[in-house]
Amino acid sequence: MAFLHSGSNSKINLSAKQMLEISQEISRDFTPCFFNQKLTLVEKDRFTASELLDISVEIRRNFAPKVSFSAPELTLLPVDPGHLHVYWSIAENQETVTLENECDDHLTLRIYGQPHEQSKATEIEHMFDVAIDSTDSRQQVFLPVAFAETAYSAEIGKFDVDDKFIVFAHSNIIHAPRGSAAWCQVHQNANACPSKNTSGQGISKLA
C-alpha cells in the first residue's frame, strides 16, 4: 500500500516500510533532549576505540608532564630514619648567576634538624651542609647517625667568598620517621626482621 502526501501536490508514494524507516530515523536523530547527560551519552556512543586512542596519544604528545616552577622551589620528602629525599627547581638564570663575591659555582643544601615537638624554623639546633652532586635536580640525603632529631627543613644556595650562604629557596618542614632499634637491626642485617614483607605489596605481583 502506498501513501500519498495529503498536504501538498507531491506525488511521492511511500510504502508502510518506508514510512516506518523515516519515522525511526527522525525519532533517532531528533528526539527532544531535556538533559545534558542524554546528549552526552549520544556523543559518547560515537567514539570508537581507535578514536579514543588517537585522542589519548595526541594529549600525551602535546601535554607531557614536565617540571617547570615559576619560582625557586625546594621540597623535602621523608624516606626512612636514615634518609631524606630532596628535589628542587632553580631557574637557570638564577643558578648560573655569578654572585658578586661568589666562591664557587656549586649548589649546596643546608639541612636543619629540630627537636621532634618543635616545628618553627627559628628554633634551629643543628644543621649540616650537603654538596649537591646531582644533575637532575633531585638527590637523596644521608642523615648522620648521631643526628637524632626527626623534624627537618632545608635551604638551597651557594657560598660567597666570605663563606656566607646565599639562599635561593627554602623547603617545607617534614618529620622523618623516628629511627628505632628495629630499623637499625634491619640495616645491620637485612634478614634480621622477618616481620617485614620483603616481597612488597601490590598488583605488580600479578604481572
Partner: protein, 536 residues
Amino acid sequence: MTKNLPSKGFLSIVLHAHLPYVRHPEHDSFFEENWLFEAITECYLPLIGVFDRLEADNVNFRLTLSLSPTLISMLCDELLQTRYLKYLRSRLELAEKEIIRTRKQPGYQKLARLYRRFFLNSLYMYQERYQGDLLAAFKKHQSTGKLELITSAATHGFLPLLNVSETAVRNQIETGVATFKAYFGTTPTGFWLPECGYYPGLEKALDEAGIKYFFVDSHGILDASPHPANGVYAPIDCGNGVAAFARDPDSSRQVWSAQEGYPGDYNYREYYSDIGFELDADYISPYILDQKIRTNTGIKYHRVTGGDLPKEIYNPSQARAKAREHAQDFVSKRQIQLDRLNASMDRPPIIVAPYDAELFGHWWFEGPYWLECVLRLASQQSHGVQLISCGDYLNKQVTHQVARPSASTWGDQGYSSYWINETNDWIYPLLHKAEKDMEKMVNDVQRLALTSLQIRALNQAARSILLAQASDWAFILKSGTSIDYASKRITDYLARFNYLHDSIRKNRINERYLTALEIMDNIFPDIDFRNYNPSS
C-alpha cells in the same frame, strides 16, 4: 564434638583487596586488564565461595575485608564485566583443549579436568549466581554480620609522599570513603592506609572523614610515643579518638615469609609453572598476549616440589590436606600466643593478621581453602581463639592508651624507600606540581559561575590527578615487572590533567576531547572538584 574454651582473646583477620585502575576502552583488548580478570577468577570468586559455604554451614565467622575504591569501581564496570566473561570463556576453551591434548597423560588430564570444572564454576558463580555483581556478594555477607567491609584511599595514593599537600591527602581519603558509601550505603568505620603508610598527623584527616580505626605495621606501634604498654596486641588512641591497630609479626611471618611461610610448602601449586610459558607457541598463541608474548594462562600442572629438583605433578588432595594441617597450626599458634598475652595484659589481647587478598588464590592457590579451614576452626572456639573485627573490638573496649604511632609502612625496610628511590623519584616533582596547579585552579574558580562544561572539565581534572597518584605506579617502577606500563600510566594521567588545566584556564574546552577522557577515565562518577580545596 569439640569443646568450647573460654575466649582468651581475639583474632582479627583482615584481607586488603586492591588493584590499580586497569581499564582501557581505547583498546579492543588490553593485557593489564588481565590483572583484574585473574584476580576475580583465582581470588575474589574463590573467597566468595568460601563465605557462601561457611554461611551455608552456619559457621559463625568474622572477617574484615578492605575493598579499595579502584577495585570497587572496576568490579561494577560494565565494560570490564563484559570483557571478563570473554576472558573466562577463553580459559574454559583452553582447559577443554587441554583435556584433549593430555589424553595420554592421565595425571595431567585429571588436572585439566579440574581446571575445566574450576572455570565452569567461576562462570556459574559470576554469571548465574551473582550476575556479574561481586560487590553484591560482599554486601550480602556484610549484612549477615560475617564480613566487616572497609575501604582505602581513592586510588591507593601513598599518603606519606603526598603529604606535601594536605589537600591531596584529604582528597584521597574523602573520595575513597565517598566511593565506598556510594556502593555500600554506609561510611566505613575502618580504613586501610595504602601500603600501611602512616605519618604522624594523618589521623586528623581520617577523623574528618568519619574513620574510627586504621592499621599500621608492627613498628608503627612498637615505636609509638609514649611506648605502648600492650605492644602490638591492643590498639592505641592517636589522641583524637581514632585507633591504630598493629600487624602481628608472628601471624604475618607464617603466611608471608618466603622461607618459612605456608605458601612455600612443597605440596602447594607452583605459581611460576604455567602452560603459557611451557607449551608449544603455536598451540598456546590464542591465549597469550598478542598471540606471541608468553604470559600466564592460569593453568599450572606442577607443585612447588622444592630445591632444584624437577617440578613434580600437582596433587590437589595432598595440597588440601596440607592446607588443613597449616590451618590447624595457625590457629594453635594463635592460641598459644593468646594464652601468653592474656596472662600479662590488662585487657583481652587482639591479634591482627592483615594480608593482601590477592595472595589467597592467585599467588597461593590453596589460600582460600586454608582460610576457610582457619575460619571454621576458630569459629568453633575450641582453641580459645575468638574471631572479631577491629570495629567490634573498639565497641567492646572503649578506652585505649593514648599514644602517637611512628611513621611507618609495611613495605620493604618498613618506611617509604620502596616508593621513593632512584627508579621512581622522578614522579614526585610532577605529581606535586599538578596537585599545586589543581589546588590553585579550584581556588581561582570557587566564586565564579561555571558552565556545565567547565564543571565537567574540572571534575575530570580531579580524576586525572587521583589516578596519577596511585601507589602502584611507583611500586611497579621499583619492582621492575611492568615498568613501561606504570610509567605510561603516570605520564598519561598527568598529560590529561595538563590538557584539562590548559583548556580550563584558556576557557577553550573541547567537548569531544573532554568526553573521550570521561569515557577513558570514568572512575568516581560523583566526584566534586570543589573538594580539592584546602578550605573545604
